[in-house]
């Protein structure tokens, strides 16, 4: 028997009521949110092992600060989708706007389409897999976690990066300060294969990707540092 699905219609139910219902302490099962119509802050602050499907496009900060939940957005996502996510998964079936997965500490963010500028900015441990390309300043000041880009990356990739590992299959328009291409060792191939598999891209050849990370030359302040 399939689990009970609770449905909320954002065309008739206020956002606040929906989010409050998603914060119920005993929340479980499946939830479907219909007619999001680009609303901001849909399904934010969820902390339960629940499956949430958002049937349409969302505005800013969808699935923000998510914990434990499996959230699928059947459309495009605005700025800051899954920002500061802690655990669980968030899947965007369409494209994502700026700052996707910003500061996310854990969990997996999958974007089937493209992601705009600043994807993975300041990420702190989450994994992000982008099916298409990412815009400029992606992984800016990224601290931990992995960013996988199956397409191309824009200008300033990984600027001022700390310990995030970036894998890009296509071209990188330019690297940011202190971000360099690095050798793909067996452990990286294995890690990347696992991330691609988790995101449903089982046929990608990890060897066709390039790894990028920190040269660690900005870790200590010096007058000779160049930016």
């Amino acid at each position: 028997m399939s689990p009970h699905v609770t449905t909320y219609d954002l065309a008739t139910t206020p956002l606040r009521a929906v989010n409050q219902a998603l914060h119920a302490p005993d929340l479980e099962g499946e939830v479907r949110i219909e007619h999001p119509l680009g609303a901001h802050s849909v399904a934010v602050g969820v902390n339960a092992p629940v499956k949430i499907t958002i049937a349409g496009h969302v505005g800013y900060y969808a699935a923000g600060m998510s914990q434990q939940a499996e959230i699928v957005i059947e459309g495009n996502a605005g700025t800051g989708v899954a920002e500061n996510m802690m655990s669980g998964t968030v899947v965007v079936k369409g494209n994502a706007s700026q700052a996707a997965g910003a500061t996310a500490h854990g969990g997996l963010l999958v974007i089937d389409g493209d992601a705009a500028a600043r994807c993975g900015i300041s990420m702190k441990g989450a994994d992000i897999v982008v099916g298409g390309s990412v815009g400029h300043s992606s992984a800016f000041m990224a601290q931990a976690g992995r960013l996988v880009v199956r397409g191309d990356a824009g200008d300033g990739l990984g600027d001022s990066i700390y310990e995030t590992r970036i894998y890009v299959r296509g071209t990188v328009r330019s690297l940011g300060a202190d971000c360099v291409a690095k050798e793909m060792r067996p452990e990286h191939l294995e890690e990347l294969a696992g991330l691609l598999k988790a995101a449903g891209h089982v046929h990608d050849d990890p060897a066709s990707y390039t790894r990028y990370g920190s040269a660690r030359k900005l870790y200590h302040f010096a007058a000779t540092n160049t930016y």
């Binding site: 989010n19 800013y60 923000g64 200590h220």
Partner: protein, 440 residues
Amino acid sequence: MTTSNWGLRESATFDRATIAAIRNAAETGIYDIRGGGAKRSLPHFDDLLFLGASMSRYPLEGYRERCDTDVLLGTRYAKFPLHLATPVTVAGMSFGALSGRAKEALGRGASEVGTSTTTGDGGMTAEERGQSKHLVYQYLPSRYGMNPDDLRKADAIEVVLGQGAKPGGGGMLLGQKISERVAGMRTLPQGIDQRSASRHPDWTGPDDLAIKIGELREITDWEKPVYVKVGATRTYYDVKLACHAGADVVVVDGMQGGTAATQDVFIEHVGIPTLAAIPQAVQALQELGLHRKVQLIVSGGIRNGADVAKAMALGADAVAIGSAALIALGDNDPRYAAEYERLGSAAGFYDDFQDGKDPAGITTQDPDLAARLDPVEGGRRLANFIRVMTMEAQTIARACGKAHLQHLEPEDLVGVSIEAAAMARVPLAGTSWVPGQSGL
């Protein structure tokens, strides 16, 4: 002066501090990084005086007649506003910049007198949450240690756009203070020099901020007051935009406000004095019809009850103390005079908070130094200090005939310098001239 030759004249332009700075830059090739706030002389609360009651005004009896001090913060939208017993709150200071014991001491002291403390860049510690009855959780550009569990544990949320010591600059914590615990909380490699972002990663500008505040409210079910903190610069516009973005409380931090580590040139040359910022903020709130509905907290060089009373007379609802709170805990204590000298400083002058070698054990992550601060004793001292500030403010308010600190008003004040009178928008003492306002 170290010379007894009265014929020597020190240059006002190239004074000894300036000469030392030039020599240091030439020697090291690195600019000076330090803690604290602006050291330059600025128009400040000392340049204002109260007009106590006499024939034309009716005073309240000191010690006998009631003068209330409590304040409600976050009445605009929050389900649970903060109700504080005193308007003197403790400003945001990070675990990392301060030791865990220092944060605990701040929490103990503040709780004892019924006021709030504030986290900082680097997240919430268990010590701080445990000891703080009212804890404001800062939401900063770096988002170090930011997590929704702590957000829900907080009593209020403060979205930080900047601080008075460095408006437009991000945090800085040098490697000496990035201990294993600090690094872990911030997801950074241990021992690196951490320079935080100066812009929030997922919003830009006031329209985005409105959406961001909406998200924070949705996550916390509209329960908690949301503050917006700005460093004092274009305060009139910033306060208006913060209100439009949905703030419950606006925090304005003047350039005398301290920092744990920033370039000296930034501290001394960016931002405006606290005194200049308050009337701008109040004007913005009044024009929006939101004065006293969106509460105003002022910080930056608040040192005593007179400063509290003057800030409130100009229209603030509450104040926040940082540097003064650390001094109350024991920062720059003369009993460590010899150790300050060994560090090339002196008690009363020490500002190298970035080095983590604080003899008083406050601005450090060194366990041996940190152990010098007893959090219980520190808390007692801070509580005493805030009590004194509150009583001092009450003394002034009663003399002005006010039964609540919030009844103090600009009409109670005059300036003793043209600059201060112009900034505060009050008359120069003994005249009816408000510089910059009236034609005379």
